[in-house]
Symmetry: C2
Subunit: 118 residues, 2 copies
């Protein structure tokens, strides 16, 4: 838990990797994270949690099996628990994510990125 | 649960009241809300939950008993569960808030604003 204001752009300036979430704060049993995205992520779902996306920069297309949801800066979408989705970033996209602690970003611990606190 | 992108500025444009959160999405057992703030809120705390603030516009000072935390656009702070705090907005401030469903914004159901979904 940070004891000071957390500046999202400052946190994003500290790394360059894509699809590698950084934990910047915690809210109850959840990690609050920023991530840089570019290109296609994996199709996946989370059996036990919704998946929160807020776009800070760029355009993110969240592909669902029946439609796409396109998010621009200042737009958010929550993928319901169990719903298959694939995030696709055309160019670099910056996101704020919220997930329960320990949830693998791919929906599968074997392929998930390690979440690092910064 | 919205089934489309939620544009924060569009949601904020639909009301003018201060300190009256609007529910714009849901994430697991939490309400995702936007609120317009101006002036001093009440000193309060939440026994059962952290309190998530992300500033979208303006400057919010979160007074704690031992210090102040000042938030500008693109900055967030999570007030830990049980910690007394008083948000103070100098001029109008727009915020994204996340709280478990049913949590009174003042920490006390008797004085809380009704949270309306938009």
């Amino acid at each position: 838990m940070s004891d000071a204001a957390v500046n999202l752009d400052q946190k994003l300036s500290t790394f360059t990797e894509h699809w590698s979430p950084r934990i910047i704060s915690q809210f109850n049993d959840c990690d609050v994270m920023v991530v840089k995205a570019e290109g296609e992520f994996k199709w996946h779902h989370h059996d036990e949690t919704d998946d929160f996306f807020l776009v800070l920069k760029g355009t993110l297309r969240i592909e669902l099996r029946d439609r796409d949801v396109t998010l621009r800066p200042g737009e958010l979408f929550v993928v319901p628990k169990g719903v298959e989705h694939r995030p696709v970033a055309e160019g670099e996209v910056h996101l704020l994510l919220i997930e329960p602690k320990g949830v693998p970003n791919t929906g599968d611990a074997a392929t998930a990125a390690q979440k690092v606190s910064i």
